[in-house]
């Protein structure tokens, strides 16, 4: 295991409600990522962080925000959940970006009804 804990692992929520997913790492890695995975789409980057309070958008960032107040924690927030955000969300970490391995957590299954 890469020392990544995601919570909650499963959640069902109603359309329009806020949802926060948490990622906690014990590896002291600089980079943290949030991906979503949908059938036929592979893994798509939502947001990533390259340090405390340093974040940037990925390819599917609309409707999501992130925060990183500590090295070990990276939060993903859906301000007002929609059914299109039903997905599996993976947190990932890496020492460096681009040319280095990233390691994934076990995923958070989110259903918006």
């Amino acid at each position: 295991d890469a020392g990544i804990t995601q919570s909650p692992r499963h959640k069902v929520t109603e359309t329009g409600t806020p949802v926060t997913l948490r990622c906690h790492q014990t590896e002291n890695h600089r980079y943290m990522y949030w991906y979503r995975q949908d059938p036929g789409h592979g893994l798509r980057l939502i947001h990533y962080s390259y340090g405390v309070k340093d974040t940037d958008k990925g390819e599917v960032s609309d409707g999501y925000s992130v925060s990183r107040s500590k090295t070990e924690d990276f939060l993903l927030t859906l301000e007002s959940a929609t059914s299109s955000q039903t997905s599996v969300y993976f947190c990932a970490i890496s020492d460096e970006t681009g040319g280095n391995t990233i390691y994934f957590g076990e995923g958070s299954w989110l259903t918006v009804v």
Partner: protein
Amino acid sequence: GESVGLHLPTLSVQEGDNSIINCAYSNSASDYFIWYKQESGKGPQFIIDIRSNMDKRQGQRVTVLLNKTVKHLSLQIAATQPGDSAVYFCAENDEYGNKLVFGAGTILRVKS
């Protein structure tokens, strides 16, 4: 468990045979490539990586081949086992070299 590969290409192999999973990449400037394995209900797991200054790299029962001329990457699994059944993803670094871009994946099914 939940399925993340409803419309992915599928490779079926007999237990004990060798498997070859292929991946075409798009960015000719990519200098880093990686293969992941994802079992049902779990997160992607690192298998092996390769940099563009290499053509081949071997791990335990796995080999990655890189053909930069035709922008093709392959993963070879020797003596495939039932535990190898999973979805396999290739990834490359993006045009700026700072993020990984993932392929859609290939399902590997091992028949006993």
